[in-house]
Point group: C2
Chain length 260, copies 2
Amino acid sequence: MIDRNDVSSVRSAIRRGEWKSPTAGLVPGNVQTNLAILPKKDAFDFLLFALRNPQACPIIDVTDPGSPYLDRVAPGADVRTDLPKYRIYRKGVLEAEVKSIEKYWQDDLVAFLIGCSFTFEHALMEAGIPIRHIEEGKNAPMYVTNRKCVPAGIFHGPLVVSMRPIPNDMVVKAVQITARFPRVHGAPVHLGNPSELGIKDISKIDFGDSVTVKDGEVPVFWACGVTPQAVAMSVKPDLMITHAPGHMFITDLKDQDLVL
Amino acid sequence: MIDRNDVSSVRSAIRRGEWKSPTAGLVPGNVQTNLAILPKKDAFDFLLFALRNPQACPIIDVTDPGSPYLDRVAPGADVRTDLPKYRIYRKGVLEAEVKSIEKYWQDDLVAFLIGCSFTFEHALMEAGIPIRHIEEGKNAPMYVTNRKCVPAGIFHGPLVVSMRPIPNDMVVKAVQITARFPRVHGAPVHLGNPSELGIKDISKIDFGDSVTVKDGEVPVFWACGVTPQAVAMSVKPDLMITHAPGHMFITDLKDQDLVL
């Protein structure tokens, strides 16, 4: 019996392999994160890349090389077993999708927990601002933009953004609310004309799903946590392990811990 | 002729060796930073340490290994020549104090620019809040506390704080103002009773100078940029280069660029 509101119950169900689905909606109010794991030889460059592009890659935690433990954000948690699904990439090619990475673990691996938009979407909804892709039961629409990330070592590439259509009279509030959460992407990077980001057709998404933009709504664009994965993938590191899309790590941190 | 309000003029005077003094008061409104340089083999741990202790070690910029250029915060600047005075430490022992580090530069060195309190002191004074050590022509009083930093790899040690006595009716304003500047230490870590930080006698400083605390003033404590240097020094890395106290790097960033 899994108590979906209790982080220990959910985490142990995930660890035992009993919860295999996406994590959206689990343990409401707790911070969920993206995961990227790289060998130490690539970790310094990746960490620099994250620091130089904090809106796209807000760092929630980084493990000591070789240590799978996440005691600063989730005492007792183990990054090898406590996400429902992982992806193993070798030289940028997807090799496997697995429920545990114990057999892939190496003593030089560094795990990066990266902020995800669930936290700010929760805050937007609490303020009465609708989130279209949730209403439509879809993933957020994501676009590769014409903006370059600040490069770091081997890592370089374009900024990826997610888009949420916001009713005109709620745009200011949406900016204010998300600006309070810089560790989960923060304020929008752009609002209004998609072509300023090099997006010619808002219905043509690069990742996720297309959503309806209604009359009187403004497309609002936030830096997206897919950016570091897309960038890392294009660099084709020897080994990179990520969460499977939607299958996030659930921390013990509360959304409110991330408010400025 | 040095124009003290012009960053190019000041920087080139420093580069030519014509300005050899502390940098306080130069180019008002521009962000000045602490400097720590380490070989790449220690840089990942140091960067992790900084990330895990952001109040003590707010990162303003980190260079690519071997690159002395600081184009993201000061286009055209060179970290080897553009501070007025440096300290060279080998295994934690001060070996030399020099005006340029060109002859010490190695292609594996990584430079960390770390936020310094000048920015928030400027903001406090603009709001009419007095800064006692400036009034008394001294350095800020600094104390080693009983709080441990979050360790990272080889780096571990206590939090060092600076103290400013603030008139009781201005304490709330001082908290609010400094909280807006998380990249230069941010909100206080403590205010009131010094013994809660393990400080038995406020007149006994560990670094800097003792200052007067008047009746009706509250001692307010901020995380201090001396922390990462003190921690790194105790670890005795093979080579560490820092700014000499008070001889900071002056960036092209404006104080207002760091406001949340």
